[in-house]
Symmetry: C2
Subunit: 580 residues, 2 copies
């Protein structure tokens, strides 16, 4: 037996008990005649006491213990003279009578402390040491708890977790697939799933009624910061439901998680149309923890002789609270910020809403106090605020103002990670035009159903057709998205045609699904949550990598195991492939 | 709203309620003036009643409904005149006032009944229809329940579920890997995990202490019957444990599952040494639901003038209960059975233990009544039993008798799927000699620790060294296996040397693990259960395919989606590979 207790559970009630503990040496304080060692395991830290007087040999051995040595001790629990109220075990220590080194340790390449001295790269290479640190372990524990809560909540309302296959078939729609050569079927390949989409729909055709799965998905995309080639989804599907049924169920799940794990009681989630989200927040995933809604100024800012505005599709602005006092330098910095290639604006107009109610703007030449007062009214500016105005193409200007709004909120500390502001964004467009391929792409995916009332636009103005699609947004992040699916063969065929599939391509790639629709497919729909993102936000952070046990870097590389790596010629030969 | 209730919940207490139901037409009985439709969903069947008298148009529409049409109805719950006590809803029916066809159905290629008329191949091609059948859905539901119970049980005793990566690195040890070409790192490959073995050990080095994961694993093996290229493990690992700690914990889990799900109270699991299992049952996964233990007859059967026995390493037999009455024809069939290439024996000696206590054997010429009486004593034969004796090489004869024992039990109906007989098999050999590669292979895997007391044999007689390895066996199937791991670099290095790795190969492939062992690795060990197998046995069956939603066939092919399949030249080009 390696231990009678763990390092987090002994307290004053255990005094005089003989115990055995095992763990890591967190630190050791050598006071000469006395030595104190902090023994750490996953559950906590317990102080070990050694003294020259009681056992000189043991005291000497304790003094030789290095950081992260793995030891086992026996001893008696005694009350501490100087108590530490900050930790659960802080009222006691162990008077050690036996000490055994279970494993030595080299000096770790960074300190195993909450605030470590190790940079990102070294911590990734030695991820197993990084995991010893409380913040990383707590992130993984949070992830475990969220997964357990999700499973129990859904299982209690009749959802069945069904495992779908990982070795499936490559389809050109959507992102790039990872593929897997088949040895037994030379020249053929499996693909790793980008999501279990078609399988969960087949489960609905199979009468499973309520399905969920916490499942790894794979996308071979060029990795932007904080994207992972493998990521985890909470994948769900339901039969005989309309959009509201799904929104209600998964709002319930989200509310349950926040209550149970963060002890936060959420109100009913607002439901916002996609078009409104873009108009008011310049984003399909608005952060509504704060205001600064976008005001459209075309009616009041155009045709006043200011050509920069007159020529543009959209003039719009936001009122940034309390920033009327910005200096010239601060304003110039903002102008530089919007001119960066990531934003790509040509400029930024500002108007200070002074505390005395007057205005001072960068375009005073063209606009009177009354003119600017109208801007203030539309952007809901109050005395002391700073109105920032942009102009340009309609969509681009909305998006730019959305980015600027987030930037200002970040600057002003309005994005409080302890506040949770969820909402549903609904009525997404069905299709979006892709300039590169000069065709429409499915905005959500090709199985999403169009809104019945928009179907008349399908042939004449397909870009205007709205979908029965919805996203769950929290704190400016999409944490889930889904749709009501097409469940009849003819609509699905017509959708593939609109997406530029020939009949043969559609049959080749999705024939099994369209066949399935001929044997009594029920109306169905679903949603998928990004677990990595959800957990990160619940943990008050936005970097998903910190919530993944063994993440990959931005080149898709696991630097700890050094993967990917070359394989043997024999392996390639067996698989009927060779390197180019 | 598609339904107010599901098809399994209405009963006599709902009479006079107005309800909306949706589901599939299971069958329709057209009685002319009356029509009865069985409406089915996942939760049950509810009878719908239509009558010409109340609504002729509706009655006619109901008569036109085909099997598996998806319909929605409104109506009132009424008490049935002729009640069906066999189903929960059998006391009521719905007097339908509105009928809507949600989706038509072609005639399914096989009947959606508990006993279907569809063969294996057609059911696999239309698996989504097969899943509509109760037995298949119940198997998936059982799997879901087992997974939930496992997770909650382990989570309650401080195990954390941690997701390990699926895109890892290929290693030549063990079975063949599935590999995944990397686009971003041209010429390099990921591999899909055969198990999360090294990652879970790194989690122990990382102080996670108790880990589990229900996780997909992948092996590119030539598929024997009922093997799948992707399969699911309940993967577990613990720190600061000895073998008994692990056995106790996971015996507890297994007992909990059988109690909770099968309502079976299991006694303490026997623990049997590998050598004893082979000696008594000719198998490392003995089925102990019945006796027929192997008796070694060398001392009493050799040197009696019967050359066939004299020349062999081992003579041994089993006593088959109640088979003394076997006819010549039955005995010949048994002899043919052992001569099949799968067994490959040269013959079989039999001795009938007559009910009057006398013996009649196929070798009466060489053995007296007293001689055979000794066989009977050693094999625990009783009057009426049939003693079957085989001879040959030691290991081969044990194995053959083990197979014969199972065959006789199967024939006699002794393998009752409702009886659960678990046991631990312990003290496996560390290494096994591989004739092909002329070197030792790790019997479990190269991270398994040798028994300290056998270490002295490591250089002189490595085949004799036993490991701290154990299997959990139930009803003749291995449902779990694990070991106490090596946790120090020098033992691990020496193990790799014994397995024929050069220092460079070991470092190249497992350097990260050996590095990790230098930074304070705790003593640790673990176990992995085969979930597919476990669920099948709990479901009273042995075919794992029936417990997997979308299984592959014996060529590793998913016949429903037709995968694997060729991919485009462009895809291969992007991945820097080409076909051979």
């Amino acid at each position: 037996m390696y231990r009678s207790h763990n390092c987090g559970e002994l307290n004053i009630s255990n005094v005089n008990q003989k115990v055995t503990l095992s763990g890591w040496v967190q630190k050791s304080r050598d006071l000469g005649a006395m030595t104190f060692v902090d023994l750490r395991d996953r559950y906590g830290i317990t102080q070990l006491a050694f003294s020259e007087e009681k056992n000189a040999e043991l005291n000497e051995a304790a003094q030789k213990l290095g950081r992260e040595f793995v030891i086992q001790i026996e001893g008696v629990v005694i009350e501490r003279s100087s108590k530490n109220k900050n930790i659960a075990t802080g009222e006691v220590e162990i008077e050690v009578s036996e000490l055994k080194i279970l494993n030595k340790s080299e000096l770790p390449p960074f300190t195993i402390e909450d605030k470590t001295d190790g940079g990102d790269d070294i911590r990734m290479k030695y991820r197993y040491l990084d995991i010893r640190r409380n913040p990383v372990r707590e992130n993984l524990m949070l992830r475990h708890k969220v997964s357990m809560e999700v499973r129990n909540y859904l299982s209690n309302i009749e959802f069945m977790e069904v495992e779908t296959p990982y070795l499936i078939k490559s389809t050109p729609e959507g992102a790039r697939d990872f593929i897997v050569p088949s040895r037994m079927n030379g020249g053929e390949f499996y693909a790793l799933p980008q999501s279990p989409q078609t399988f969960k729909q087949l489960l609905m055709v199979g009468g499973i009624d309520r399905y969920f799965q916490i499942v790894k998905c794979f996308r071979d995309e060029d990795l932007r910061a904080d994207r992972q080639p493998e990521f985890t989804q909470i994948d769900c599907e339901m039969s005989f439901v309309e959009q509201d049924d799904i929104l209600n169920i998964f709002e319930g799940l989200t509310r349950h998680l926040l209550k149970k794990i963060n002890d936060v009681e959420l109100k009913e989630f607002p439901r916002m149309e996609y078009a409104d989200a873009m108009r008011l927040y310049g984003s399909d995933k608005p952060d509504i923890r704060f205001g600064m809604e976008i005001g459209e100024l075309n009616d009041v800012a155009k045709n006043k002789g200011f050509k920069v505005f007159d020529e543009q599709e959209l003039v719009a602005g936001i009122a940034v609270p309390g920033c009327a006092s910005y200096t010239r330098k601060q304003l110039d910095k903002l102008i530089d910020w919007v001119k960066r290639p990531q934003i790509g604006a040509t400029g930024l107009i500002w108007a200070k809403h002074n505390t005395d109610g007057t205005f001072k703007s960068s375009v005073d030449k063209f606009y009177s106090q009354e003119d600017v007062a109208k801007w203030a009214e539309i952007t809901a500016s109050k005395p002391g605020d700073l109105i920032l105005v942009m102009a340009g193409g309609h969509d681009k200007t909305q998006k730019n103002l959305g980015d600027l709004r987030l930037h200002m909120a970040e600057t002003l500390g309005l994005r409080d990670p302890k506040v949770f502001a969820p909402l549903w964004v609904v009525d997404f467009p069905l299709l979006e035009w892709d300039e590169d391929s000069e065709r429409f792409h499915a905005m959500h995916h090709p199985f999403t159903s169009p809104k019945a009332e928009d179907m008349y636009l399908m042939e004449t103005d397909p870009g205007k057709v709205r979908a029965n699609a919805y996203d769950l947004v929290m704190n400016g992040n999409e944490i889930g998205g889904g749709s009501i699916r097409i469940h009849d063969k003819s609509t699905q065929e017509s959708m593939f045609t609109h997406l530029g599939f020939t009949k043969d391509q559609a049959k080749e790639q999705f024939g099994f699904l369209m066949d399935a629709f001929e044997f009594g497919a029920p109306p169905h729909g679903g949603i998928a949550f990004g677990l990595d993102r959800l957990v990160a936000i619940m943990g008050g952070q936005e970097i998903i990598r910190d919530f993944i046990a063994f993440p990959k870097n931005n080149s898709g590389r696991d630097v700890m195991i050094n993967s990917p790596a070359p394989v043997s010629a024999e392996q390639l030969n067996d698989l009927s492939i060779k390197l180019k």
